[in-house]
Amino acid sequence: MHRTAWKWRGTEAGTAQLSNRERQRRRAVWVAKNVIPHEPYVRQWLRGARASQEEIDELIQESYCRFAMLDAVEHIERPDIYFFSIVRHQLGRLRKRAKIVPIDSVAAISETILDEAPSPEREVAGQLAFERLKALLDDLPERCRRIIEMRKFDGLSQREIAAALGVTESIVENNISTGLRQIRETWQRHEKRAGDALDRMGKGGRGV
């Protein structure tokens, strides 16, 4: 039962008294800090394991589901390992269903990801991921970008933004929703592009 130490210890203090919104937000802050930065590496590894883009999206989404379903996350000692283990486990199940077991893809793990974990380089990469995420704001429609910047960087509430811009609060809310969706799509596309480039490099290398 206590096979792995990434199981949390203790319980989330006072969870019962928290609103769902507050509970969700705390979880999200933790995930932003501990999971999101590792996502590019996990995606990269999945590509190395020859998972299709669809499989990758599905596996990543499933792993976020797992993080969402846990009673508490703060006691996970190594979120990167935990994240990676979920994905690998799910990939294994997928492959079992497909009756294909590419052993060499399993062996490649350490080289691509875990030998470095959690090296300063990866921390830097996590920072870069955030920088890139912020850069995606530039691609948003003008009002959308402005509203998100006011909310995120100027620290105004949605109500204050609505008053400042002379629009309704629901317009502010909708703009945030639209902007967030677009950022997320572009973020995933970016990751895919980076991965495609890596794949090409790999193929070129083998060809020579």
């Binding site: 769902n20 979880r27 995420l133 949605q158 997320r184």
Partner: protein, 323 residues
């Protein structure tokens, strides 16, 4: 799952995040959110991902603070982790040695651990030693020097600062000297591993005083009896110092570790030895954090990961059988 369905979920998740961020969140919204999450297992995951991206866009200092309130040990000081892990360590042997640790000890004494036992002992100078499985240390605290002899095995020391009395660990032919710092020494065939978690230590082989090397926090090195030095290396190939020292909390922390090296680690802690019957597996890699006293759990993970069997019919062995 079709792309459009995934996109639809993502879209709804973004709506929820924007709504949660608003100033007009109500109890009804709260209840509706719970219902929505219950509709489809993917909803909660999509919501969490969107919300985390939203959170990542800005620092949200207030949010950070609440997160800390909610989980007081997300990033506590190293010593606090230490204590808590120790107390929650679990196994009976561990608990017993914690009790023993508080008994008074004379300044010149030796400590031994059995296979699987991990012990923490406070030394009279205020330092602390954590002694790993199947190990023996002898401690002599003199006025000008604090000496520890590692007769076998491995130990980690949190050294109390005392510039007048250097703290020297002798492991066979290898010497490690610290003033106030934390480090571990493990005796191996032909030398010793030194891993530093705080500060800096000097290490050298007897008779090669001119070849002292400095090892800083986060670094590890193998010092051979013949004074050869291999930096960045430690048995088992643990990639970081902290991971290599997971044993202090009764854990084995594997990250891309070779299966044969991982098995050797488990076998240090258990009389019941893991035997690998399928040599093809030796070079595979494993990851995860395990309890030192749970070799069966580890073997089962190997079996599940590589589609091999585990034979536990012999109480003295755990056999990992071929495919």
């Amino acid at each position: 799952m079709t792309r459009s369905r995934t996109q639809e979920i993502d879209e709804l998740a973004a709506h929820w995040v924007a709504r949660m961020d608003s100033d007009s969140w109500t109890d009804a919204d709260d209840a509706e959110l719970v219902r929505w999450c219950a509709l489809d297992a993917r909803h909660a995951g999509a919501l969490l991902q969107a919300q985390a991206l939203w959170s990542a866009l800005g620092d949200e200092p207030a949010a950070d603070e609440t997160a800390r309130d909610g989980a007081d040990d997300v990033q506590p000081p190293a010593r606090a982790i230490w204590t808590r892990r120790w107390m929650l360590g679990g196994s009976g042997a561990l608990a017993a040695s914690v009790a023993a640790a508080f008994l008074f000890r004379s300044p010149d004494t030796s400590y031994t651990t059995a296979v699987g036992e991990i012990r923490r002992v406070p030394l009279a100078d205020g330092s602390t030693a954590a002694i790993n499985t199947d190990s023996k240390i002898a401690v002599a605290l003199a006025e000008t020097r604090r000496s520890v002899t590692l007769e076998k095995g491995e130990a980690w020391f949190q050294v109390a600062k005392d510039a007048k009395r250097p703290f020297v660990v002798e492991a066979g032919n290898v010497l490690v000297r610290a003033v106030g710092t934390a480090f571990s020494v493990r005796r191996r065939e032909g030398g010793a591993d030194v891993i530093v978690t705080e500060g800096v230590v000097e290490a050298w082989a007897k008779g090669a005083d001119g070849q002292k090397i400095r090892i800083a926090a986060g670094e590890m090195a193998f010092i051979a009896d013949n004074a050869a030095i291999e930096r960045g290396a430690a048995a088992g190939g643990a990639p970081t110092a902290e991971r290599a020292l997971a044993w202090r909390s009764g854990k084995i922390d594997l990250a891309g570790t070779r299966v044969d090296a991982a098995i050797a680690e488990f076998n240090r802690y258990n009389d019941r030895q893991i035997i690998l019957r399928d040599p093809a597996l030796a070079a595979e890699r494993v990851d995860g954090v395990f309890r030192t006293d749970d070799p069966i759990g580890f073997a089962q993970v190997i079996a599940g990961s590589f589609d091999v069997g585990v034979d536990t019919s012999n109480p003295k062995e755990i056999r990992i059988t071929g495919q």
